[in-house]
Symmetry: C2
């Protein structure tokens, strides 16, 4: 996978987290191995379709980190992963992908974004079904861990 | 949501299950309520993007049903929800959406399919983030329960 395709998503995540939730995530080492799977408690997923691009992106948060982000965004910490946290994760997923879409359009890669889907469940795993390469990348901060996955069919 | 949009997905699921896994699913009553959420052990999700259509579809299986489908498709029953069951669910998701895509194209509704994503995790929940209506529909058979959700932004 071209680094040109990956950086807009990473920058999108870092920007959205910093501007919306005053949370500075530290990117870990990206991996390409098929066996690495993102594990976490709440995930936002989104599909992408365009003439040159077909794929999916997901961002998975630990419960602790998701609750902290929610607290910083709305001023109150929910007791658990409720529907409002889910909506926040869906919104964040949409914003990250929207940021990347704008950046990639400037480079000549156009795609349409599907509507985001949010998955909740203790330690669920995500598996993107693509023929092309998958990139998984951890992000750390004091409040917990997030994983981003970006996958394209070609 | 127009019934014209929903039936192709229902027919896709019933056809795929019957032809690929000799499993006859019985459709339950569809619901439109926002508070109904699909709960299950393994889900296939796919995004759709087109000039008139933007949305997502998911199909969620109980572990028992997913293992039975796998057994009927490949002749051997896996001990648990492993990567191969996940691949099967991804493939089934792709086929259901592909069936619906063909039917809807004949009616003049064109859309592109993103790549499917498979989620595994005991009793996870799926929440489609759309502005438009969401339709959730249970499907039953002796071996267990499946839920399909179809959601469009408009």
């Amino acid at each position: 996978m071209n680094v040109e395709f990956v950086n807009p998503f990473i920058n999108g995540l870092l920007n959205v987290m910093e501007t919306m939730a005053q949370t500075k995530l530290k990117p870990g080492k990206p991996k390409r191995k098929q066996s690495d799977i993102a594990q976490g408690d709440v995930s936002g997923l989104i599909g992408m379709v365009g003439p040159q691009i077909k794929g999916s992106m997901s961002i998975t948060f630990d419960e602790e980190l998701a609750l902290t982000i929610m607290e910083r965004m709305v001023g109150e910490r929910p007791a658990k992963l409720d529907a409002e946290v889910g909506d926040m994760v869906g919104e964040v997923t949409n914003m990250i992908c929207g940021n990347a879409k704008r950046d990639l359009a400037e480079k000549g890669f156009e795609f349409g974004m599907a509507t985001p889907i949010v998955v909740s469940g203790k330690q669920h795993t995500i598996s993107h079904q693509v023929d092309g390469s998958k990139l998984i990348m951890p992000f750390m901060c004091d409040e917990g861990l997030a994983h981003m996955e970006i996958c394209f069919d070609k």
